[in-house]
């Protein structure tokens, strides 16, 4: 006899896979059809980048219960590592114009550079984690925030210029548009500049989900729920916290590399604490402890701030009536008020702690198999019979 519970789960999972595959197919199709200058693709690319970073932050803040605010610092490390190792040799002299072309005189393929970006971020996370992870909640937050600021200062230091280009911009490295497959005459044969970022983010988020479902993931959640109880059950606190911190930073580093690709230029001064706050707000809006929530809210956040609320920044007329208050910056005011409302009144965010399969399972009858429905009816009937017999 098959266990109906497992079967039900399998179905929801299958449907989730279909949903995800459909999203990817839609993105790929849209990219071939719609003009590449459309705002849609800006949002999708940036959204995919932030989705990965938000999920990596959620792994730490939502699943392990470590309130870290160092995300921007690790993204910065990732972005710089990626950029430094992928700028083509012929451009180095112009990028590093104040430093005689820099000291790094080789390039790595983007894929390796991206992994290296993650590894560098993870290595620094390991170093930082040694002292910092002993601290408690808000002290940990402020210490990680401090580390992000220190990293930012070090990368801008002029003495490191031959490697980091000092406080100058890094540019001309391969970006998302390099993924497009070109014809011989230089026109684009297949657009991949949005699909590939989606794939990268998708694979990374998939890895995080796998991790969360493993024994490590359960250990992380147990630390979040009760440190003392977790320790009593044999979870090595220091080891697991360090692990979560490094893994989260690894993916933040990869996310940083993606951000560099999205922006096409990198400069250390833009990776401020404000960036960390923004990512944290994405996590909160999506639901602390939900991967799906972080992904959805990242896209919503980016779409609202870059696209959908844009009209608020320009003067609008309804007939002859000029709508008051609308001018540059009003979009952000409205947006912050929405965020405050979510933070104050919808503290569970969009998803709470639910994931995509949970949502599908909760849909009324949508994925329930026929035998399951019959079983449910039978149970209800027998329950009412018992009630009547009493």
């Amino acid at each position: 006899m098959t266990n109906p519970k497992i079967k039900k789960k399998d179905r929801a999972l299958t449907v989730s896979w279909i949903v995800v595959a459909a999203v990817y197919a839609a993105v790929f199709a849209a990219e071939q059809v719609i003009s590449p200058n459309s705002m849609l693709f800006t949002v999708l690319k940036k959204g995919a980048t932030y989705a990965l970073v938000a999920v990596s932050m959620n792994l730490l803040n939502g699943f392990t219960g470590i309130f870290s605010l160092g995300q921007a610092g690790f993204m910065l490390l990732g972005a710089y590592t990626y950029a430094i190792f992928t700028i083509p040799l012929e451009h180095r002299s112009s990028v590093y114009q104040y430093f005689n072309g820099g000291v790094v005189q080789f390039t790595l393929p983007w894929f390796l550079a991206m992994i290296l970006a993650g590894l560098v971020a993870a290595f620094f996370a390991w170093l930082i984690g040694l002292p910092v992870l002993r601290l408690k909640s808000d002290y940990l937050a402020i210490a990680t925030l401090g580390f992000a600021e220190i990293i930012r200062a070090i990368l801008q230091w002029n003495q490191l210029g031959p490697v980091t280009n000092g406080s100058n911009m890094l540019r001309l490295f391969p970006n998302f548009n390099s993924f497009n497959i070109l014809k011989a005459d230089g026109s684009v044969a297949v657009y991949l500049s949005t699909t590939v970022p989606f794939l990268i983010a998708g694979v990374c988020i998939g890895l995080i989900v796998l991790l969360l479902h493993s024994g490590y993931g359960r250990a992380f959640k147990s630390i979040r729920d009760d440190e003392v109880a977790a320790e009593a059950m044999g979870v090595n606190l220091a080891h697991h916290k360090q692990l979560a911190f490094c893994i989260s930073s690894f993916f933040a580093g990869v996310g940083g590399a993606m951000l560099a690709m999205y922006q096409t230029t990198v400069q250390a001064k833009s990776f401020t604490t404000a960036m960390t706050y923004e990512i944290l707000l994405m996590v909160v809006i999506g639901g602390v402890g939900s991967v799906t929530g972080s992904v959805i809210s990242s896209f919503l956040f980016v779409a609202c701030s870059e696209w959908w609320l844009r009209f608020l920044d320009n003067e609008q007329f309804i007939g002859d009536f000029q709508v008051p208050l609308l001018r540059n910056g009003f979009r952000l005011v409205v947006f912050s008020i929405i965020i405050m409302v979510v933070v104050l009144f919808f503290r569970r965010g969009i998803m709470g702690t639910r994931e995509l399969p949970d949502v599908i399972r909760a849909l009324p009858g949508a994925v329930r198999s026929l035998p399951e429905k019959m079983r449910a009816r039978r149970e209800r009937r027998s329950a009412s019979r018992k009630e009547a017999g009493r």
Partner: protein, 307 residues
């Protein structure tokens, strides 16, 4: 040597005093609510912006400055009532996220009002004039700040030790629930804390921005973080600790800003190293060291100082 170091020392003391005024707000709020009020630095910035608009409206100085201080205090009060009070029973992380949300909102509001432009801070006649101290030229505000800071701190300490509301504050910071059972009106005590903290941040803002030509929506973030570090350094919850921490951080930061010049003139280095990049980073390095070595800060153990 002394002639090279002295100007940096002087501006360090001045900046330290300004950080101290902000740090008191952090330390008092943390002492009572156990909350890092991330929005405090932005309240400080908003005070600067209000001052810009007030003086643009042409009111005389003796009207604008008190008005700015009152408005800033009011903003602190409103923020607490709107953003923190509904979350009184929520986990600490939610309140902290709310504080980050408020910081985001304040910055965006100011961005909207100013259009994201640098606003020139008005010159305040008495404290903006240049004076010469022991051969170093500086603004009068450099001398006014430490004195004013100490006077305000003494007043505050008297308030906390001698008055009824001060006693209530001390009780609440010791034990939130018990003091509630003893009939202390928690909400008014917390509001009072926010009003005092914001008022002092307002004073700090008038002094701070006199040294800097312009205000923009992000100019509160860094001083805010540094003042918080000062509060942690001195032992969070302790007012004297926050003040001493702020002076130490202000001085160190300015010495590092001038370290290249100092080392160069004394012949230690032959070319500038660009060490001034680290003036901000140093503050955070200090924070991490203190958190690891002595997490309670310099004066953290003295529970009687807690507010």
């Amino acid at each position: 040597m002394w002639n090279t170091v002295f100007p940096y020392l002087l501006s360090g003391i001045s900046v330290g005093g300004q950080y101290a005024l902000i740090a008191i707000g952090y330390t008092m709020v943390y002492g009572i609510l156990r909350l890092i009020n991330f929005a405090h630095g932005d309240v400080f910035m908003v005070a600067g912006i209000i001052m810009v608009y007030m003086s643009a409206s042409g009111m005389p100085l003796w009207v604008t400055i008190p008005l700015v201080l009152i408005l800033t205090a009011l903003i602190g009060f409103v923020i607490e009532r709107v953003a923190y009070k509904p979350l009184r029973s929520a986990p600490r992380m939610s309140v902290m996220i709310s504080a980050i949300g408020v910081s985001y909102t304040l910055q965006n509001l100011v961005l909207y009002v100013t259009g994201g432009l640098n606003k020139t801070y008005p010159t305040i006649p008495l404290i903006s004039q240049t004076v010469t101290v022991l051969g170093a030229k500086t603004k009068a505000v450099t001398l006014v700040t430490p004195v004013l800071t100490l006077v305000l701190v003494l007043l505050l300490v008297t308030l906390i030790n001698k008055t009824k509301i001060g006693m209530a504050m001390r009780a609440v910071s010791k034990d939130f629930e018990t003091s509630q059972l003893m009939g202390i009106k928690i909400n008014s005590v917390i509001s009072a804390t926010f009003v005092i903290g914001s008022f002092l941040a307002g004073v700090g803002s008038v002094l701070y921005f006199t040294n800097y030509p312009t205000v923009i929506q992000t100019s509160g973030a860094m001083p805010g973080l540094k003042a918080f570090v000062a509060a942690v350094f001195g032992g969070i919850g302790s007012i004297p600790g926050a003040v001493i921490g702020a002076f130490i951080i202000g001085i160190m930061e300015n010495i590092i800003k001038g370290l290249d010049v100092i080392l160069f003139k004394s012949g230690v280095i032959s070319a500038p190293l660009g060490l001034s990049t680290f003036s901000d980073a140093f503050t955070f390095a200090l924070l991490i060291v203190i958190l690891i070595v002595k997490p309670t800060g310099l004066f953290g153990e003295k529970a009687t100082d807690k507010v």
